[in-house]
């Protein structure tokens, strides 16, 4: 474990300072322009470059409307960027694929399928035999804490349970990268905390690469190895911050840890400063 640097800006490094060998996702000078209704162009993302290491938990943190979702959709292949390119394992991303599994704030479950049916959907699509797919899916449902709910329909579940199903459904087809877009944003504080803990436990078991979008500073620090701070209008990367906190992380220990507190306070202060400086400055 590294020793904590004494000055805060020592662990705040500019993005370009390193190029790790084990990069799984590379975002290279991506910009996104949206046509607004008034025939004016809106620059949602401006010249974004970012490299994500295999097995890293990376959060994209920023105010609402700064282009976090758009960036995630570009990596997912759901949106193609106006300019620049994104790559996964050196291959240009041209569309969605099972190597990148999305989890959306809106859950986006298939309402006509039961919990089990939803989770089995991906494996079945990939021609895993029904018996096998079912066994794996049942295990996953148990892992996300929904044993006993296999035959429930999504409408019969709470928001937190729906998001657990969505996570299990995505994990079921073994994507190499999880793309999570404010997955806990629609949940109440208590449920959010529990899902954060569970996500961390699951992640610490198999260390999948996670790209996690959030606007909550504490959530980003608690979960991540690296926090990508974005600023608004146009969406740009402000800073990339390594979160050097020990794992496995326990919430009750971490909240008392001065290093954790310092990360949260420093990041919040940086956002405050940029607010005072005004947008697009």
């Amino acid at each position: 474990m590294k020793v904590m640097p004494s000055r805060s800006n020592e662990w705040v490094r500019p993005l370009t300072s390193q190029k790790p060998a084990s990069a799984i996702i590379e975002i290279d000078r991506v910009s996104q322009v949206f046509q607004t209704s008034a025939r004016k162009d809106h620059l949602a993302l401006s010249d974004i470059s970012l490299t994500i290491d295999e097995g890293a938990f990376v959060s994209i943190l920023g105010p609402s409307g700064c282009g976090k979702s758009t960036l995630l959709y570009i990596v997912g292949g759901f949106v193609s960027p106006t300019s620049g390119a994104a790559k996964i394992k050196g291959q240009a991303i041209t569309g969605p694929g099972p190597d990148r599994g999305p989890v959306f704030q809106e859950f986006a479950l298939f309402p006509w399928k039961t919990v089990l049916g939803n989770v089995m959907y991906g494996p079945r699509q990939q021609a895993v035999r029904a018996v096998e797919a079912e066994a794996q899916s049942r295990a996953l449902i148990e892992m996300v804490g929904l044993k006993g709910y296999e035959n429930f329909y999504p409408k019969e579940l709470s928001g937190g349970m729906k998001q657990r199903v969505a996570l299990a459904r995505t994990l079921a087809y073994h994507p190499e990268v999880l793309l999570m877009d404010e997955p806990f944003g629609a949940l109440d504080a208590h449920t959010r905390t529990r899902l954060q803990n569970d996500l961390l436990n699951i992640w610490e078991r198999d260390r999948k690469t996670v790209l996690f979008v959030t606007h909550a500073v504490d959530e980003a620090v608690f979960l991540s190895d690296k926090v990508v701070m974005m600023s608004n209008s146009p969406g740009r990367i402000r800073q990339v911050i390594d979160i050097d906190l020990p794992r496995p992380r326990r919430r009750n220990e971490l909240l008392l840890d001065p290093r954790y507190q310092k990360y949260v306070v420093d990041i919040e202060r940086m956002f405050d400063e940029s607010d005072e400086a005004g947008p697009a400055s």
Binding site: P96, G97, Y153
Partner: protein, 261 residues
Amino acid sequence: MISPAALTRRAAPVLACIGLLAVWQVASLVLKNDSFPTAIEAIRAIPDILGDKESLINILASLRRMAIGFGVAVIVSIPLGLLMGRSRAVAAFFNPLLMVIYPVPKAALMPIIMLWLGVGDITKTLVIFLGVSLPVIYHSFEGAQAVEEKMLWSGAAMGLSPLQRLLRIVLPAALPEILTGCRTGLVLALITMITSEMIARQSGAGNILFNALDMGQYDTVFAMIIIVGAMGICLDAIFERVRARLVRWSEPQFDMPLSFS
């Protein structure tokens, strides 16, 4: 046990029917018009119609045309509506076409269709087909358009092709809306069925009705109206059962007030 509230709810349609018949009976007795038989006279004529082989053949012929017209319309309209809902190009192509057909009473097309196809089954079935198609296309279109994009993205990430997404995500997701369209279509099928038989007599329930009208057998006329009405109620009740079963999983929609099931 049935709760008092549920009992009231179930009894309400029955009471409404009895009330309607009572008003009819009284009105008829007061008006004393030859062409307006009493409810009891009309009801008495029902067994005669249903016991007559000729009449039954007529009614069955009607139902067959209706089933074929409805079935073909549903099979054609659902894919068309779904494609329109998911593709702007398809919608742009078919929308003007449908907007032209939409306000035209389908029965008004019958004389022309009769010139081309004669007065037989094909003409009548085609008119039923046209009547059913529009609501089914419209509701399929709306349903397909409303499918949450993230649901399609989730499917795409699992490796579903565009066609698979249409069949395995858009279709089931839009099913509640599609079935609402089919239900409207079913009622319209019954209406166009009778109208078509009014214009091109030859066989069918409408044929019995309008022949009786010509011959001044008013109790038969009103008996046929009751029979057609009862057919509508039964078909709708059966359809509603099937619908409720197919979309059990969906968020509870507003209750359809015209249901007897």
